[in-house]
């Protein structure tokens, strides 16, 4: 039997209240060991205060060939950005 431990993706939330961020992956036999290993591999210098681990196989990713259909529609919607609107200086900061 192959005893290769499955791959886990590791997400860490840093000290400053930002979202958990993907930092890398590692092998571990189960979720508990994945968290322990992530502690050793990815937080040796106070990089985080919270760890999430997810089996790599359980992640569904968008396909690179969908780039066009997925993201192009937002290119034409410039009115979604604040800079689209000219507010006169007299109005003050907005």
């Amino acid at each position: 039997m192959s005893s290769e431990w499955p791959l886990w993706e590791i997400f860490i939330r840093g000290q400053h209240g930002l979202n958990h961020r993907h930092v890398g992956s590692l092998h571990a036999p189960d979720a508990e060991m994945a968290i322990r290993n992530a502690r050793d591999v990815y937080t040796r210098r106070n990089e985080g205060v919270s760890i999430w681990v997810v089996r790599s196989n359980d992640i569904t990713a968008s396909s690179p060939s969908d780039k066009g259909p997925l993201y192009e529609p937002s290119n034409s919607k410039v009115y979604r950005h604040p800079t689209f609107y000219d507010i006169p200086d007299e109005v003050g900061h907005m």
């Binding site: 005893s3 890398g24 590692l26 036999p29 050793d40 990713a61």
Partner: protein, 328 residues
């Protein structure tokens, strides 16, 4: 370097490329990052697996010469520092194995290739660490040379490799500084201690220069790898930079670089220096260095001795997850 003599596959000649290959090269020329699921030429994938795998193996095997001194460090603080450094190297290996795995090879396959002698690791780790001063020389020179190569690789074209390099570089500067710190301490000590530091420099100088690999200015493999941005500088460029950086550091320590022909060349704005003995380099790569058998033997033994443990934890995990499904 940590990856030496990596054979590159593919063609850097646009006329011989398929339309897909041309589009791919254009993306790289625009400095776009290539991500795992995207199309890439077979040669790019194969060359990267070889290079990242060799780099990962070097990090792991590189723990052995330093591990040799953990139990004999002169103070508790030095022992804690060395432990932390060696632990970092394990992490570097893991980041890099993960990056290689995104290319469709498993970690076990890479380890099997290492253990079977089909994949290499850096020549530098086949030299013995005979005295405590060697811990200083290794951190200062070996990690110093590694940094020289790894800093530009942060900009490499393959996304996961680049991200691994960014993490590694953040941790690497502590390695070099703790090594130089050991050298400073030894050089400010008794004449015997200073002599140990000089002896360590004498033994590690040329092996450190070999880390960059032989001159590759005319190499086809290097040209291809540079076009793909998985190699950022020629071996000679990096070696020159390393020498120019290290010579004043040796001078500060009051140590002599073991090269009678070393001298500043005003015209080229760099040092002239002697080449290492390349026949020694090829002998070490072929398995005939002073410690090749010992290093590989230690890796294989660790892997074999750990098999029952890896399998045991897998069996436990299988049982545990079965139980959880049943309970729901």
């Amino acid at each position: 370097m940590y990856a030496q003599l990596v054979k590159s596959e593919g063609t850097a000649n646009r006329d011989e490329m398929t339309p897909e290959e041309v589009a791919f090269q254009d993306r790289i020329d625009r400095n776009e990052k290539i991500e795992p699921k995207e199309w890439m030429p077979d040669g790019y994938r194969k060359t990267l697996i070889r290079q990242i795998g060799q780099h990962a193996h070097s990090e792991i095997v590189g723990q052995l010469p330093e591990g040799n001194w953990i139990t004999r460090a002169p103070t508790l603080e030095r022992k804690a520092i060395l432990l932390a450094k060696v632990q970092d190297e394990a992490g570097h290996g893991l980041y890099l194995y993960s990056a290689a795995e995104t290319l469709g090879v498993s970690r076990d396959e890479l380890l099997e290739a290492l253990h079977a002698g089909k994949m290499k690791y850096s020549s530098i780790f086949n030299y013995p660490t005979l005295t405590w001063a060697d811990m200083g020389a290794v951190g200062w020179l070996v990690d110093g040379a590694a940094i020289m190569n790894q800093v530009p690789l942060q900009r490499t074209s393959y996304g996961p490799y680049s991200r691994a390099m960014i993490r590694i570089c953040k941790e690497e500067s502590f390695h070099q500084r703790q090594g130089y710190d050991i050298m400073m301490k030894m050089c400010a000590g008794t004449p015997e201690q200073k002599a140990m530091a000089q002896d360590a420099l004498n033994r590690f100088w040329y092996p450190a220069l070999m880390m960059f690999g032989p001159s590759d200015k005319d190499s086809v493999h290097s040209a291809q790898s540079m076009a793909w941005r998985i190699k950022m500088n020629t071996n000679d460029e990096l070696r020159q930079k390393f020498v120019d950086q290290t010579v004043p550091q040796a001078k500060f320590l009051g140590l002599t670089v073991p090269d009678p022909d070393l001298q500043w060349n005003e015209e080229k704005g760099g040092h002239d220096f002697s080449e290492p003995d390349w026949s020694e380099f090829y002998a070490v790569l072929a398995g005939n260095g002073p410690c090749n058998a010992e290093r590989l033997g230690a890796r294989v033994k660790a892997w074999d001795d750990g098999a029952w443990f890896r399998e045991g934890l897998m069996a436990h995990a299988a049982k545990h997850s079965g139980g959880r499904v049943a309970a729901e």
